[in-house]
């Protein structure tokens, strides 16, 4: 049974991703099975073994005015674009600022600012650094700017858990509303880490796909030929609200944010625990926290990064805890892995799946790996059943962080 009294609902969605500069274009490209991956054209491509990435479909500097964008790291630019869309979507006329919060994290924060500023510092000296260098590089910068924009005084927070960051931010926001600290919270994740240093570092771990001759077929969760993840960039943001606050203002409710489950692997800094114990515990906890059973869960947006190790362990865990009945989607096959932004955009996808009763497909699953005993949505999207249903978004991060967020239909 749910241990909490306050129901939390989703009243706004925002995103800027490799598939589109907003939610609508991203979602329609996702349902159409398009890939957001392309070849790297910058000179530095010769310095790294991975020659492709999932770049944002719309460059944020084309959307933001120059005086604003020049003071923001790229991750902050994404976060602001997505947050503005979500905030406008929620159409909140009035909210007590002391009851309004923000939780937006990033895996690494302003990494491209740090690297560019270091070069400026070495070549020209400290006097030539922008006075906004610190606000640009700090990982809480996105949360801070969004908080200033919406006037959030309940609290502005930034969670950090690598690839679980976006989901953890949403979990924190659900708990912030349930505990009575806020009525409305803008929550999600962002990342802008497509840079040769990062690619080189992930490549040094052999974590990334090097399918350079076929970039759009490189992200292939659960396929026998998968060889690592594809790096993506962008942001996904939800507006979460107490049901009471939402109903009082006649808001459109897209889904119920039913609960969150956390665990940690306590196993290895970068490899998933092979029995799936941590993943299973997070999923068991989210069922309990949301007051639902495995049978209620009809859809899972899997973490599924297209790595040899992680993909199958997750499906084992899904089967064990939830069952083999939910429609399981691996949307990173199209968006790539947005790191801190993944949990944000994938929560947007999970909410839309419930709202439209459609589970997105997974592309590039040509040769399904052995040992997968759940129903993967391959190719075309599939319909979700009528009635009251639940969906779960899984996000796991280096460090062994396991987060599962549950949404239920309205």
């Amino acid at each position: 049974m749910s241990t909490d009294q306050v129901r939390v609902v989703v009243t706004g969605l925002g995103a800027t991703t490799p598939l589109g500069g907003d939610v609508a274009s991203t979602w329609s490209a996702l349902l159409a099975g398009q890939s957001g991956v392309s070849g790297i054209t910058a000179d530095w491509v010769d310095s790294v073994p991975v020659k492709f990435a999932a770049f944002s479909a719309v460059d944020p500097t084309e959307v933001l005015p120059r005086p604003e964008s020049r003071r923001l790291d790229r991750a902050e630019q994404f976060a602001l674009v997505a947050a503005r869309e979500a905030w406008a979507h929620a159409a909140i006329d009035k909210v007590d600022p002391e009851r309004l919060g923000v939780v937006v994290g990033s895996g690494i924060g302003g990494i491209t600012t740090i690297l560019a500023a270091y070069d400026t510092f070495k070549e020209k000296g400290w006097q030539r650094l922008s006075p906004f260098t610190v606000p640009m590089l700090m990982p809480n910068g996105s949360a801070g700017w969004i908080g200033i924009e919406v006037g959030a005084r309940a609290g502005v927070h930034a969670t950090v858990s690598a690839c679980a960051t976006g989901a953890e931010s949403i979990g924190y926001a659900i708990e912030m509303i349930r505990s009575g600290r806020a009525d409305v919270v803008v929550a999600g994740g962002t990342e802008a880490a497509i840079h040769p240093l990062n690619i080189g570092s992930f490549a040094a771990m052999r974590a990334m796909s090097t399918r350079n001759d076929e970039p759009q077929r490189a992200s292939r969760p659960w396929d026998k030929g998968r060889d690592g993840f594809v790096l993506g960039e962008g942001a996904g943001i939800l507006v979460l609200e107490s049901e009471e606050h939402a109903l009082a203002r006649g808001a459109t409710i897209y889904a119920v944010a039913a609960g969150v489950g956390y665990s940690a692997d306590a196993h290895h800094i970068a490899q998933p625990e092979p029995t799936g114990a941590g993943v299973m515990l997070a999923m068991r906890r989210v069922l309990e926290n949301a007051g639902i059973t495995g049978a209620d869960v009809k859809h899972v947006n899997a973490h599924a990064t297209s790595t040899p190790a992680g993909d199958v362990v997750e499906t084992m865990a899904i089967k064990e805890v939830i069952g083999d009945h939910p429609l399981v989607s691996g949307t990173k096959s199209m968006t790539g892995h947005l790191l801190g932004g993944a949990g944000g955009i994938e929560s947007v996808f999970t909410v839309l799946a419930l709202h439209e009763r459609r589970a997105p497909g997974t592309i590039n699953v040509d040769d399904l790996d052995d040992g997968i005993e759940v129903d993967i949505v391959r190719g075309e999207p599939r319909a979700l059943p009528d009635g009251q249903i639940a969906a779960i978004n899984n996000s796991f991060g280096f460090g062994g962080h396991d987060v599962a967020v549950a949404f239920t239909s309205v």
């Binding site: 120059r66 005086p67 020049r70 006097q127 030539r128 650094l129 922008s130 006075p131």
Partner: protein, 79 residues
């Protein structure tokens, strides 16, 4: 490289437009940064950084705080 007042004004107008979005033609010599152009202290630092790139002239902090109007900056750069 002796620049004319007009050339310096044009350069400053471009810098201020880049940093604040204020149209360059609104940047006239008599305007005060704080009162007329609504430019805060961090933006002044950005302007000083950009001016060093544009004109090759460094503006130390203890001088920067005395530059109240656009004309003050033009005079500083000329001298």
């Amino acid at each position: 490289m002796a620049l004319t007042e007009q050339e310096i004004l044009a350069g400053i107008g471009k810098i201020i437009n880049e940093i604040t979005g204020i149209p360059a033609n609104e940047v006239t010599p008599e305007k005060s940064f704080v009162d007329d152009l609504d430019i805060d202290s961090l933006s002044m630092v950005e302007i000083a950084v950009a001016a060093q790139d544009e004109f090759g002239v460094e503006i130390p902090d203890d001088q920067l705080k005395h530059l109240k109007t656009v004309k003050d900056v033009i005079n500083f750069i000329q001298n």
